[in-house]
Symmetry: C2
Subunit: 302 residues, 2 copies
């Protein structure tokens, strides 16, 4: 069972609402394939924003029922992004999805101080990864948005990670602040902050611990071998990386070499933003839609 | 074929000298198992430094011929490390190996300004990893020694990586300076330096390119998909990480989740220093001994 089947199995028993989703610059084959799957599985109501002619051509080509989608004819990147954000602001959609458009272009109207839809001090990226060897979900954050977080930003990044994991039924997430070892390195701010946040972030909703290395975070056998006595015992739910390079490389190594599958969201706006890379497969895009649906349902059901 | 067999197959046809190796605090089962294998394969002449009684007990227990080893009776961590460095300084051994002793304790006499054996401005760690999915070696540096290298240090780290890859017959190594994407991020010094070093480090001996993400560094299919037109085309030999956390986590994710095997050396002293973690297996220690032998032979044969 992979990422999609595992995400699908969550809340099957619960009343799960359809996700109204605005897709900014939707006229792209992999994007529309993931939308088609969402329509067929009856989990989404899509609003597709792009050049109408190009869109209807592709929709016909992919045998997507035109009755099942709403089309907004807007080919311009900037205006298409503004339209998507407007729909979210007016509560007409539950999520935004990046189609064939640059990350900066879709995020600019999101963070606009007057007309934007930011709900947190920070937008951060949460990758939810299904790791076959562990046979469970692990979140990695932030390998996609915040370049080099400061201590306050790390705190928000952790909170966003906890929110996402909660939506897929992981209660009391254990968040490991990643380092090369368990020692605080005075030359390395993140390891100092990790140790401070371990003390400061106490909650019934999550456990935070760091600095800690990848093996003790994820592999119980090594915890035993090294006789590590922390709150995390190879059972971390969230790997909090000190910067975008370590997070990005870790996600990629797991998917490229560990057979893992990944879904990605930006958290911190009034709606989750599905922000997979333009090169990512329709599977990854679809998994991200499912994840956004879980986050939306979690928000509504509390 | 794994890491050890691949390392063994190099220079089988060439006259390969035995490695005279000083093992600092050798009285440890995994350490001595790797030494036993080296003796049986006839590739090392070990000088074991530790408490003599403890050593001989373990040697007998592991059925290691006492005639094949030299013992120096010194149980004290500090003095054992000083003795190992003295042997290297006097050219009585070709390599140092860390036994059951802390990394700081073995490196302190190495970097001593008066009596030490530093040959470079910087000691750096090179991990050589055999990645089954790629069916080849990849070096990762530096995930074990330099916490947050500056630009000059990155340069030395790359040079040390090239030296090690040369010793295992990788000519004109391609070094990828790792980032989250191919964009220079102004907030991220390493990505700026990566771009500068791409211009500045031109040589017939190696290729340097960055910033570049993990997928374009190692996966030719993704290079094609993304139509990337760099000098590296999924064929990087060396992954240069901007800091110790990203390097350490990447090595660990490849070994823990990608079925990879790893050997590790510290480069920058007059002899290579085998510095595997105390928890690493005798296989990893043995692979590191083989790697040190290649580096030593490379130095002598030019």
């Amino acid at each position: 069972m992979g990422l999609v089947t595992n995400l699908q199995s969550i809340r099957q028993s619960v009343d799960s609402k359809k996700l109204k989703i605005a897709v900014v610059k939707a006229a792209n084959e992999d994007v529309l394939k993931s939308i088609k799957r969402g329509i067929e599985e009856d989990i989404i109501e899509p609003v597709l924003i792009d050049d109408e002619g190009k869109l209807t051509g592709l929709l016909k080509q992919l045998s997507i029922d035109l009755e099942k989608v709403e089309i907004i004819d807007q080919a311009d990147d900037k205006k298409a992004a503004e339209k998507g954000v407007e729909l979210a602001r007016d509560k007409k959609v539950d999520a935004l999805m990046k189609g064939f458009i640059g990350t900066g272009d879709i995020l600019r109207p999101v963070v606009n101080k007057e007309t934007g839809i930011r709900s947190s001090t920070l937008l951060s990226h949460v990758a939810v990864i299904f790791v076959p060897k562990l046979n469970r979900f692990v979140a990695i954050t932030d390998g996609g948005m915040v370049v080099e977080p400061n201590k306050e930003q790390l705190k928000t990044i952790i909170e966003h990670g906890v929110e996402v994991m909660k939506s897929i039924d992981v209660k009391e997430s254990k968040a490991a602040i990643l380092s090369a070892s368990e020692n605080v390195m005075s030359k390395n701010n993140a390891s100092v902050w990790a140790s401070e946040l371990t003390e400061e972030m106490r909650s019934d909703d999550y456990v935070v611990e760091g600095p800690i290395s990848l093996d003790l975070s994820l592999i119980p056998d090594i915890v035993e071998e090294k006789n590590y006595r922390g709150k995390i015992q190879g059972d971390a739910d969230i790997i909090v990386t000190p910067d975008i390079v370590s997070g990005n490389s870790l996600s990629k190594s797991l998917t490229l070499f560990g057979g893992a599958e990944m879904a990605g969201l930006i958290i911190g706006a009034t709606v989750p933003i599905i922000l997979t890379s333009r090169a990512s497969s329709s599977d990854e895009k679809y998994a991200s839609i499912l994840l956004a649906q879980h986050v939306m349902n979690q928000k509504e059901n509390g």
